[in-house]
Amino acid sequence: MTDTHEATCSSCGRFVGPYPTCPYCGAHLKGRLSLRAVKIIAVLLATLGLAALWWAARRVPIPPVTAAEAQGSMNMAYVQVEGRITGNMTYDPEGDYLGFWVTDRTGDMRISCYRDVTRALMASGSVPALGDEVVIAGTLRIREDFVSLTVNAAEHVTVRRVAPVPMVINALTPLDEGRRVTVGGEVRRIFSPYAGLTLITVRDATGDIVISVDEVSTQLGGPLPPLVEGQFVTAEGVVTLYRDAPQVALTAGRDLRLGELAVVAEPTSIPTPAFTPTPMPTPAPGETPLPTPTETATPTSTPTAAATSTPTPVPTRPIRSLGSLTAADVDSWVRVRGRVVTWEGFSAGLKGMLDDGTGQVLLLTWTNVYRDLRPPTALDLGAEVVLNGKVGIYEGQLQVVPGEVSDITIVTAAPLPPLVQANQITIADAGRVIRLRGVLEAPQPFSAGYKVVLNDESGGATLLLWSNVYEALSPRPEAGVAVEVVGQVSVYRNTIEIAPRSSFDWRGQ
């Protein structure tokens, strides 16, 4: 430690320590800093310097960054991000934590708002939601696997909500993901796969779509109105994808509004009054919310005096006459009424011709829809039905396909096919649907299924069980079992065969 030359008097050489003047010889010691000067500098730095720093800092803009630009060396920086909210919101009502993802052109960033910020956002009614364009400033936090931003002040959250675009349902495609839209239609199904998520299937004239409502939407945006199936609603939300299929995610419970439709009662007679649909509004960006859909504007289907059901305040789609359906209706949903004049099975369900006196279309029911009918056999030859279905075209034939069992209303159940004796069936009966009772012999396999002889007191008849029918039977047919079976008579190489059209034609032991 060789500092003694600095602590001694340059005149007399004695130790003077911190004195500015030698206490022994009175010499003024040079090269020493004045403590008073240091104090003044310190105070100036601490006060004026701080004020200058504050002044300069206030003029420093908050630097904007993108998700891709954010890197480890920017950790804890106060920055601004701009993008659109994607993915589900997270909200913890106990801790008032609000979290969401913002996507800019380059990637995603997690945004976290804690108690006071969340409360301030809620108080000011500026809680951001899925699909909103936002500009947010906060403290950047970089982790190994993701980037997050903690919001320190509610005023550093700027939300711009895009005006919803009115859309018809079948116009929504995966390309609309993130778009804010309004759709309207009839509630077909309300389903909650788990607590905190409600899925509402809504259908308009063009198709159906799922409206998803998560817990956060109702916590932050008010509860859903009381809903019943059949209720007409309009919903404003953001298009999201579920398994690549578009759905509309509600961002606030209050964004689902109940429709006001005239009551339309079920008509009972055929033919029904013709219904001419009004063209759906063409969606265009920036339009005002969706005008009331077609059905509300043209309730042309007037209730008849002969209505058998009590009118309820559940609006329904007016019934189209079958003769009015054309190829232009393909992919749209229609409500039709008619009588089943043919009914046969195919590999994935049953189909038949529906006739209302003005025309015929093919009615196609998938197995899962048909089996949910109570009872399924009510829909058969001779049944009179009212149904909602999607119009399609197959091999030049117009068809109407109900989406689910609730789309089908059996006005008059199909009568039981005539019970016949085996020996009464002739080649002339080919195409008829008949009913037999008897005892089975052992089934014999062939390339496309099984053949089994049914014996009644008059004789035997060959039952033809196609593979799909046979495999759907439980228990499987076996010798000695007594059954009642319905089937369509066919002739193959001069042999009469009775072919059940589905497993539902196999009517037990």
Partner: protein, 437 residues
């Protein structure tokens, strides 16, 4: 796995030498690793870097006592060592002070090792319990820190304002330091002048200015004649003092490591009061233990399965590149810490002799000027002109307690005030008053 230990050992040895550079914080060195991480060779994987940092923080926290004692260049967690350390130094016992601190450090490491099997079960529970109470606990710490400062007047001033001022001078200086550093903290938090791409070193210029530069300036102002140092073969440290010091240090270090914003210095200060230490030897030992537990224990929390708590600059930096959740890695990290700690302790014995030899040949004033140069270079090199401006202002604030005789710890207001106000939900209100929003 053995390679991870080697990386840790490499970090410890490197940090042991780097710790001798006055006022060079190991966080600044690690910061350069992060800054240039993309340019590092592939062999430096994030996991190896994590263990390298683990070794560095262990080596640094064991050896940064040396410049603190011999060159009076402490960081915020070592500031309590300086005064008793200087006392030892003036008694030719600087070497002994380093060894005592090292013994405390080894004691702290031993406790960390003993806690290893229980910590993953214990700390998550403690965290869950404390989490809702953080705000008021932090305000209690601040209140204790401010009101526990005693007037330091001579009681000989004439009656009236002069007498009042003599009594209140240090208290006022403490409050002003806390308040001004708090405002500085708000500015740094919301509108820092530090360039965006080195924001992770946002606090570097402030800490250098608040703590390191004032010490150096004080050294330049004072004329200190240091006696020749004695390399002792024995240490005046009874077993009781070792246990007492280690226990107090671990208590304070754990509090600081676990609790956000509270640094090792504050933790040591609280532990010192809590255990009412009168024995200076125990106090020096406790500061060594507290420093190790604060730095190393805090970083180990990052490796702890079930907790994964990010505490301390090292953990914040490495968290941008690496995360770990397995008990295996935690045990390896503890092993690395023990190995590095023991190696660093023995290195500290030899390197203390080296520093003693150096200080006997080079002027104290020259060393102080070199230290100042290093500080300014690090601040400018890392944070540019904006950082230098912050450092200058922080130096002014940091000089207030030096010149008016209050606790330097009040300068921790730079972190405590903004964070505590944020926790209380008033941070944005104050920032709005300051026009920073």
């Amino acid at each position: 796995m053995a390679d991870l230990l080697l990386w840790a050992l490499l970090g410890a040895v490197a940090a042991s030498f780097l710790a001798l550079v006055p006022a060079l914080h190991i966080y600044n060195v690690a910061g350069f690793f992060i800054l240039f991480s993309s340019a590092l060779p592939p062999v430096v994987t994030p996991e190896r870097m994590a263990f390298l940092f683990l070794g560095m923080i262990t080596g640094y926290s064991m050896l940064n006592t040396i410049p603190s004692i011999f060159l009076s260049a402490p960081d915020d967690s070592a500031m309590f060592i300086v005064l008793p350390g200087q006392k030892y130094l003036l008694q030719s016992r600087g070497y002994e002070a380093v060894v005592l601190t090292g013994i405390g450090g080894l004691g702290g490491l031993a406790v960390l090792a003993l806690l290893t099997p229980f910590a993953p079960r214990f700390f998550p529970v403690v965290r869950t319990i404390l989490q809702p109470h953080m705000a008021w606990i932090l305000w209690t710490v601040i209140a204790f820190m401010l009101i526990s400062e005693w007037p330091k007047g001579s009681d000989r001033a004439p009656a009236g304002w002069k007498r009042w001022w003599e009594g209140w001078r240090s208290l006022t200086a403490g409050l002003i330091t806390f308040f001004l550093s708090g405002i500085l903290g708000f500015i740094l938090m919301y509108r820092s002048l530090v360039p965006l791409d080195v924001s992770y070193q946002n606090l570097l210029p402030a800490f250098v200015g608040l703590f390191a530069v004032p010490w150096v300036l004080q050294n330049l102002l004072a004329r200190v004649e240091l006696p020749a140092q004695h390399i002792a073969r024995t240490i005046d440290a009874p077993v009781g003092a070792i246990f007492q010091g280690t226990a107090a240090g671990v208590l304070g270090g754990l509090f600081a490591a676990f609790f956000p914003v509270v640094t090792g210095g504050i933790g040591g200060f609280l532990a010192g009061h809590a255990t009412a230490q009168r024995d200076e030897r125990a106090f020096v030992i406790s500061q060594g233990a507290s420093k190790i537990v604060y730095y190393v224990g805090g970083f180990l929390l990052f490796f702890m399965p079930g907790l994964h708590l990010t505490r301390g600059g090292m953990a914040w930096m490495i968290s941008t590149q690496y995360s770990t959740h397995t008990p295996e890695r935690y045990y390896w990290a503890t092993a690395a810490v023990l190995l590095c700690g023991v190696v660093a302790f023995f290195l500290s014995l030899g390197l203390t002799r080296l520093v003693i030899a150096l200080t006997s040949r080079v002027s104290y004033r020259t060393l102080s000027l070199m230290t100042l140069l290093i500080l300014v270079s690090v601040v400018f090199g890392m944070t540019g002109v904006g950082g230098l401006g912050i450092c200058a202002v922080a130096t002014g604030i940091g000089l207030i307690p030096v010149l008016w005789g209050s606790r330097r710890m009040n300068a921790m207001g730079v972190l405590l005030l903004p964070i505590a106000l944020n926790m209380a939900g008033a941070g944005d209100t104050v920032a709005r008053w300051l026009g920073l929003l």
